[in-house]
């Protein structure tokens, strides 16, 4: 049973109506099993956010097919089963962190004690207990990304699509967050997480996909992909160069 199945996915766009199309994704095919944590890595502009937008059903592909939990993105059957954390985090909300999480849980149908329990659980998992009463507008970039992760966790969705959730998060917190997400995956959730900087030597997860210039250049278990020719662990930049075939 796959959580995501993408076949020959392509996305082209015109920056202006009169300009030539640019390719953001080209012939991307991959499968993600249910109950796994999959990492999506790549440099800036590799097409990670575009891929996640296609999976979320926000934009429609130029070609190819994709199914999420056996349904097309945007299908009615998926409402409430998928959560997407977009990339932007510069909102000026004055709402407290707890209130934002309560809103996320409420939108997914949780009420009363169940909602409170979800929120508490998500706050703890995203290391946000001390910040629960802080206004979102006063948080740092890394703290805001943690709020985004907590919002996704509070929904209780089966499939989480997280776009750059670790951007700006300090290494220690990032390690703990990855562990929390892995635990959620072991509990049955499927999580696809994109990042342009993965922690050296600590890239957890069950699968790692590497995008470069809109093409899926490598995929496999992280431990295998990140092992160098002499058995040493590769850094993220080295991994990218090797995947491109020039490292």
């Amino acid at each position: 049973m796959s959580a995501i199945c993408a076949q020959h996915l392509a996305y082209r766009y015109r920056p202006w109506p009169w300009s030539a199309p640019r390719v953001a994704l080209r012939d991307v095919s991959f499968t993600m099993e249910r109950g796994t944590l999959q990492l999506l890595a790549g440099a800036n502009g590799a097409g990670k956010s575009t891929l996640l937008r296609l999976l979320a059903g926000v934009t429609l592909p130029s070609a190819g097919e994709v199914t999420l939990l056996d349904h097309a993105p945007g299908a009615k059957e998926l409402r409430g089963r998928v959560a997407w954390m977009p990339e932007a985090s510069d909102a000026t909300w004055r709402l407290q962190v707890r209130e934002l999480l309560e809103l996320a849980a409420a939108l997914y149908g949780f009420a009363g004690a169940a909602r409170r329990a979800r929120v508490e659980e998500a706050l703890t998992a995203a290391l946000l207990d001390p910040l629960a009463k802080r206004s979102y507008a006063t948080l740092s970039k890394g703290e805001r990304r943690r709020v985004g992760i907590a919002q996704a966790l509070a929904t209780g969705a089966e499939l989480l699509l997280l776009d750059e959730p670790l951007d700006g998060v300090d290494p220690e917190s990032a390690e703990l967050l990855l562990a929390a997400l892995a635990a959620r995956a072991r509990a049955g959730a499927s999580i696809l997480l994109s990042s342009h900087v993965l922690l050296d030597g600590q890239a957890g997860g069950d699968q790692l996909c590497i995008l470069d210039g809109g093409i899926l250049v490598a995929s496999g278990p992280p431990a295998e992909l990140m092992r160098g020719p002499t058995g040493e662990r590769l850094g993220f930049a080295q991994l990218l160069r090797r995947a491109r075939g020039n490292g």
């Binding site: 429609l60 130029s62 934002l100």
Partner: protein, 404 residues
């Protein structure tokens, strides 16, 4: 089905609650500037000849100012809420949740409207009931009475010739008559008749006339030369008031524009409720404009566009001038021009009516702007707000497709 509806309501309530808690986030400075300007304007003394006139002007200014500030604040808050959602991708990320586009917009709209209304309603009540020059000291406008204007006024000159009276005060020379006809009334009323006597050469003169209504006859008291009679009358069939000047030298001036039959005063609280409901409706209208426009364009453009629409709508005097020019039978217009002028009036009067909601029924002929409101206006405002939100919903439901 009932469960699904309940879930939908719960989602709308959640978004509305979050919106209300987050009103003006990051736009507090704009609101502070708006309030400071309004406060400065509200404190300035109005130029008026009498204390009563000053009180009325002050009341009118405060009511208008509060309505303008509330509309501008609603526009700003609505545009900010939707603009922020658009900018940071909330609308997009909500698309994957059980929250529908219509629920998201309804929640935002309810949040902005209720958040502002909770702050503005007490201010409306304070201005109407407690502030200096409030409506409490102008009972007739706070608790409007039913008014029955004359159906026809006819003046009979001393030589027996008759003329239909249109408007303005009537100056009755000795021996002249004035007949004022009213329609039947369904409740006891009082007739209000302001009059004064004067000599042609100037100065006060003893009054000498009679006023007859049915079988009853009234005469001014000795030495009386200026008064406003208020005579109680029972409900009944069509009524005729007949004025007969019996003086030899003095003329009688009757303020015909103010001659009216008045019913008993009504309760004051429906006026207050309508006043506040009108204010809330206006806030809701501006909030819908702000939210609707900000889903299509940026926050700044949405504010500018909405403000322009509200400003246009407030230029009622301009629309009225055009309409009255078109309605004038002596205006040099052919039939085609008249038809277009009529359509113009129909089209553009709708807009001013939308922002003239905050008020009670028109109780006097020259009613101030805060005294106009009716069900049609409310319905029209609701329809426009719903249409704007519906268009915004269509925008949110749209998914872009990659180029082939």
């Amino acid at each position: 089905m009932r469960g699904a509806r309940f879930d939908s309501l719960r989602r709308v309530a959640a978004v509305a609650h979050a919106t209300r808690r987050d009103l003006f986030s990051g736009r507090g400075v704009a609101l502070a500037i708006l309030l400071a300007a309004a406060w400065w304007f509200a404190l300035a003394d109005p130029r008026a000849a009498t204390a009563n006139e000053a009180a009325v002007l002050l009341l009118e200014r405060r009511m208008t100012l509060l309505a303008v500030v509330a509309s501008a604040a609603a526009l700003l808050a609505g545009a900010h809420a939707a603009g922020e959602d658009r900018r940071v991708g909330s609308f997009e990320s909500w698309r994957i949740t059980p929250l529908r586009a219509s629920e998201a917009l309804l929640g935002r709209w309810l949040g902005v409207t209720s958040g502002l209304a909770l702050g503005v309603a007490p201010l409306f009540a304070w201005i109407v009931l407690l502030a200096p020059g409030c409506l409490r000291s102008h009972r007739d406008e706070l608790a409007p009475r039913p008014r029955f204007l004359p159906l026809q006024i006819e003046r009979t000159l001393a030589d027996g010739s008759r003329q239909r009276w249109q408007r303005g005060p009537a100056l009755l020379d000795p021996g002249e008559r004035l007949v004022i006809d009213f329609a039947a009334t369904t409740e006891p009323v009082e007739i209000v008749v302001p009059w004064a006597t004067a000599l042609r050469s100037g100065g006060a003169a003893p009054a000498d006339f009679t006023l007859q209504i049915g079988e009853r006859l009234w005469r001014p008291a000795a030495g009386e030369s200026l008064a406003t009679w208020k005579i109680a009358l029972p409900a009944g069939p069509p009524m005729r008031a007949e004025w007969h000047s019996t003086a030899t030298s003095a003329i009688v001036r009757v303020e015909l524009d103010e001659v009216v039959l008045r019913g008993a005063p009504r309760a004051w609280w429906p006026t207050l409720v309508r006043l506040i409901a009108g204010g809330v409706a206006e806030i809701g209208f501006a909030a819908a404009l702000g939210i609707g426009l900000a889903t299509w364009v940026g926050e700044l453009l949405a504010c500018a566009g909405g403000a322009l629409l509200l400003l246009l709508a407030n230029l009622r005097a301009l629309f009225e001038a055009v309409a009255s020019a078109a309605a004038d039978p002596h205006a040099p217009l052919d039939e085609g021009a008249r038809w277009w002028a009529h359509r113009f009036e129909q089209l553009f009067f709708a807009l001013p009516d939308l922002v003239a909601l905050r008020a009670v029924e028109r109780t006097v002929a020259a009613a101030p702007p805060w005294q106009t409101s009716d069900r049609t206006t409310f319905a029209l405002a609701g329809a426009v707000a719903a249409a704007v939100l519906w268009l915004a919903r269509a925008r949110l439901a749209h998914r872009s497709r990659g180029a082939p």
